[in-house]
Symmetry: C2
Subunit: 381 residues, 2 copies
């Protein structure tokens, strides 16, 4: 279900294993619909054709969370196999529910509370100080549905505008974030799990720009992050990939949020690991043995190709970027829009700074810059 | 043109680069037709729909040589771009023509001569001794179209049965083959070439069973093999992958035959090299810069999954093989038949014998054997 780039890369991983993929796409021009041998037009609700699509499949999986959990649950009851299950998707959709579950598990999370009125927020800020973070319970991603409120007035404004859009919001302690990282775990129905190396994620405006593997965090924190991922996967009964995003603040690890599907932070694994997140996701949902998550090179850098107001379609500049012989380019064949993920590049190597320089050069060539200014723009220095 | 496993793996390589592939398939169930977003039923002749198919494409390429060179030439004259060109395909189809060209280039080849009658063969054997090799000028592959004749009677028999099937045959010096290897080169229209590491090929009954990279031949021979590949690619104006098969006999290298397309001996490059033969073939035919052919691990072993009279469909046993976490499995989703290539597995590692043990274990699990007897059956010891 879903035909974005995650589905596209899942289609790519399915072919060598002889797995037939049917894609449920909103539009025939969607990223995955362009490469799948079988596409059905529809969406993740019974009203939009989910049932006949799902009933054709041995197992149904997701490339996003924008599905009707109620409808998925109804089909599960009728015997259709969804992995992850409706129960898992329900938690992955709901940031409030995630916080509650993580609290029950004793995981390190920021303080949080309901924010049904600005009084709730004021009371929370009295205990934890301004600024505070306000978060949509449902539907936020890539920095959407997250606001900072520095005082009562800003909180009131955010709550009111969220309320007008019918969004429920909760309040969270502001953390002085030093850096961010992510951990991917894959779990099959019988319970086996594998954990990927922790990846440093470089965010800008809430969107991930760069992945660096292995993480440069102290080993104690990366071990803790891997254990946390496995714990959450087991607790939620995840089948397939679980991505856990972490903050590092005050020198410690904090769980931010999760996605129960292949995730942008795992794209390094396509070339960087023996088994990519997409292949392991497929193996997991079919209850096959999971593949090794070992790195195949000392360092891996992945840089996202993001659309900007004046950036070219990366397909136009592809031959330029390919003149860097070590670069692996992945284009999603999506219409360029500001902030939209249009592709990514990955570079493996023995020298971390060098992999970063080459990856950023490629991205600047793809988005229309020149190779010369890439070290500056990418902040690679 | 063509929808076998080579086309299938080309489709897999095209998606990350945003390249749209249209497949010309004989049957809807052909290996590549199962995974391509766009398939046309037909074959490589004007009578079977080549023109409308080819005219839709920016560039047309091949996954086999069973095409009408005359028809391809006619479409080339009408402005359709074929890479490799009709001229190159004509040589790749014709073993006699290959020998003649290689002789002109001063390459090391066995002595050869026309064999239009058994007298020709007798005269050749007087100079070079029995046994001799008889070869079909056109259409041989995987050991088909090659016969050994130990004396006049056997030669006569072979010539007569070939004649009845309308096959032209020539005669070649018998070489005491010690081992075989292959070299892949990729060339783009403006002339740039890249060479892959030379691969040792383990043949049985004329079919390649195993690839070992890097080659264990003396460095002098691997350098010579790479140079030979580049020379042939330039001489024939090859665009795309050129595979050159070599014999080692009497301690020296001999050119056997060529294929102007991705080739079984290059399958190790999918995981083993920065850029696979399929990706570089696509880049070349689009006149894009070629990618690095560097190995990403010290040792790579690829073992073919071959059908046998009693072997299972490898899809049935796939989960068993995946329990070996380092193994990369590629299934072609073809009906099992004795001797048919149904897939391959690749294992990377720091220890060559270990990669061989694991790769053969996987293949025996896939074809229905048990992991325990694999070291014997595979001759890994």
């Amino acid at each position: 279900m879903g035909a974005g780039q995650l589905a596209r890369m899942t289609v790519e991983a399915a072919s060598p294993l002889g797995i037939r993929v049917h894609v449920l796409a909103e539009h025939a021009g969607d990223s995955a619909a362009r490469v799948a041998a079988s596409t059905t037009l529809g969406a993740g609700t019974l009203a939009r054709g989910l049932a006949p699509f799902a009933q054709r499949c041995d197992v149904v999986t997701f490339d996003h969370e924008l599905v009707s959990v109620v409808d998925v649950r109804q089909l599960e009851a009728a015997g259709v196999r969804f992995w992850p299950s409706a129960d898992t998707v329900a938690v992955a959709q709901n940031k409030w529910e995630q916080r509650t579950r993580f609290q029950q598990l004793g995981l390190p999370i920021p303080a949080f509370a309901a924010a049904d009125s600005v009084t709730d927020v004021d009371r929370f800020a009295e205990r934890h100080a301004w600024p505070v973070i306000l978060k949509a319970v449902l539907g936020g991603y890539d920095g959407r549905g997250v606001w900072i409120a520095r005082d009562h007035d800003e909180a009131e404004q955010t709550l009111s505008s969220a309320g007008q859009r019918g969004m429920r919001v909760f309040v969270e302690q502001f953390l002085p974030i030093e850096r961010e990282c992510a951990g991917l775990v894959c779990r099959r129905p019988r319970g086996d799990t594998v954990a990927y190396p922790i990846v440093d994620t470089v965010q800008k405006d809430g969107i991930c720009h760069e992945l660096a593997v292995p993480s440069s965090l102290p080993r104690q924190l990366t071990v803790q992050a891997q254990h946390t991922g496995t714990l959450i996967a087991e607790h939620l009964g995840v089948v397939g990939i679980l991505a856990v995003e972490f903050f590092v603040a005050n020198g410690q690890l904090w769980v931010n949020e999760i996605a129960a599907r292949p995730h942008n932070s795992g794209h390094f694994s396509i070339e960087g690991c023996v088994t990519s997140q997409f292949e392991n996701h497929l193996r997991a949902i079919l209850d096959w043995p999971l593949g090794s998550t070992e790195l195949v090179a000392p360092y891996v850098t992945t840089v996202n190709i993001l659309g900007s107001a004046d950036s070219a379609d990366p397909r136009v500049n592809l031959p330029l970027a390919l003149s860097l012989p070590q670069v692996k380019v992945h284009l999603y064949v999506k219409k360029p829009r500001p902030g939209r993920k249009l592709g990514h590049v990955t570079v493996l190597g023995d020298d971390r700074p060098q992999t970063r320089v080459v990856a950023w050069q490629a991205v600047h060539l793809l988005t229309g810059g020149s190779a010369e200014d890439s070290t500056e723009v990418g902040g690679v220095a």
